[in-house]
């Protein structure tokens, strides 16, 4: 099967600072990869590169068959990113945010209701503006957007952060489900055992590069 993510010596910069200093990596379609490394290793940057938010400075990068140097826009329909910022509209309700996200990708809005219900956001919560929700509920809303969209590539940056026990279990279920459906998942997490149990393999990052598994783990 063609690799979902294929990077060769990929360099990405913020100003003159190298976020990624030559990453070479292949992740097959349908794989769940746990991205691991110390703070500042370039984990978030790797995810941001994969959804075309950080431009490729040099090297080669293709995601789901789209070359990141030329068509980043066509790719975005198939990629879902859950980052530190939830990218939701505070004034809109959970329901409205879901519908807007689905419409903006040209998808039908039927999935909005079931997705909200799946994340435990049905009923009164779904009619509440996101600005009034707790951090955990916002996370759930952002996850509901992903579930409703069901993209081919899931980029999850510390998805467990801020979720309660029930939320975590739900998230684990969702990751297992998307894996079963053949989706590709890049999962950055500091909860190693947890993440390792969910993934097919572990990718170690340090200094903006892929490295061998270190002998001593920080």
């Amino acid at each position: 099967m063609a690799p979902a993510v294929r990077l060769r010596e990929a360099v990405a910069l913020a100003g003159r600072f190298p976020l990624l200093a030559g990453v070479s990596l292949e992740i097959d379609e349908g794989e769940v990869a746990h991205v691991r490394g110390p703070n500042g290793a370039g984990k978030t940057s790797l995810l941001r590169l994969c959804c075309g938010l950080v431009p490729l400075h040099s090297g080669e990068a293709s995601v789901l068959g789209h070359d990141l140097a030329i068509d980043r826009r066509a790719l975005r329909k198939h990629v879902g990113m859950l980052g530190h910022q939830s990218l939701l509209y505070e004034e809109l309700t959970v329901e409205e945010n879901l519908r807007y996200a689905l419409r903006s990708f040209g998808l039908e809005i039927e999935q909005a209701g079931p997705a909200a219900a799946r994340l435990g956001l049905a009923g009164r919560v779904s009619a509440t503006p996101v600005g009034r929700l707790s951090a955990g509920q916002r996370r759930r809303t952002a996850l509901a957007v992903l579930v409703a969209r069901d993209p081919r590539l899931w980029l999850l940056d510390e998805p467990h952060a801020g979720l309660d026990q029930e939320g975590r279990e739900l998230l684990d279920e969702l990751i297992a489900e998307s894996r079963a459906k053949g989706r590709t998942v890049l999962l950055c997490s500091h909860e190693h055992e947890h993440a390792a149990a969910l993934s097919d393999r572990t990718v170690w990052l340090a200094g903006g590069q892929v490295v061998e598994e270190p002998a001593s783990v920080a």
């Binding site: 938010l53 910022q85 004034e91 809109l92 903006s104």
Partner: protein, 222 residues
């Protein structure tokens, strides 16, 4: 493109309807501006009435700056560009939608402001059709330039200071043309304003076109 524009405009206007920032902050700001002009120029209506068109349009220009800044502030705080780029929307559609929402907000503001000018400066609002046509065309041009520059400046740490410097000189011809057209209409010779109206139309067409073409390359940067 139009479908996306409609979606974005609807979303922006819905957020405005909920947060009421334009209504609770921008409208009182514009009211304060025309009150202050009155204080600066003195209570003499023979001074204020002839100047009312110019003062009205200065107030609109300043309000347009606030409205465009707000338009990018509603996109999630510091991730405005990230959100817009990840949204899967057509950049030209985003541009048209955001500009359209700003036009709608500013037109409401202009209606209120025109009333204020009539009451405070004693301007006679004659030639209503020309006045309204000028409002629409001038506002489309202003919103287009504002949204392009708003996107240029969004995400920069200096955006609050940079945006006015970029926006105001470009908007100078709009101020001039709209003021002159209003002057003609208020003086009871609305047909004299038609030439200025066509200049405003050219401005609006040019900058809407630039926005449609340039928004893609503009958003693709990080």
């Amino acid at each position: 493109m139009l479908r996306d524009a409609w979606l974005v405009a609807g979303k922006d206007l819905r957020i405005e309807a909920r947060s009421r920032v334009a209504l609770n902050q921008v409208v009182p700001f514009a009211a304060a501006v025309i009150l202050l002009f009155g204080l600066a120029l003195g209570p003499d209506r023979s001074v204020l009435a002839p100047a009312s068109a110019g003062l009205f349009w200065i107030a609109v220009l300043l309000s347009c700056l606030l409205a465009t800044q707000r338009s990018f502030a509603v996109e999630s705080a510091d991730g405005a560009r990230d959100g817009l780029r990840l949204s899967g929307l057509d950049p030209a559609g985003i541009f048209l939608g955001k500009a359209g929402a700003v036009v709608a907000e500013l037109l409401v503001l202009e209606a209120l402001l025109a009333l204020g000018v009539a009451v405070l400066y004693g301007a006679h609002l004659t030639g209503g059709l020309v006045l309204a046509a000028v409002c629409v065309t001038a506002t489309v041009g202003l919103a287009a330039v504002g949204i392009i520059y708003g996107a240029v400046a969004s995400g920069l740490r200096v955006k609050e200071t940079l945006l006015p410097l970029l926006f105001l000189p470009v908007a100078a011809p709009v101020l001039l043309a709209a003021t002159k057209a209003w002057d003609e209409a208020l003086a009871g010779t609305p047909s004299g304003g038609l030439g200025w109206l066509s200049l405003l139309a050219v401005f609006a067409v040019v900058y809407v076109t630039i926005g449609i073409v340039a928004f893609g390359p503009l958003l693709e940067e990080s």
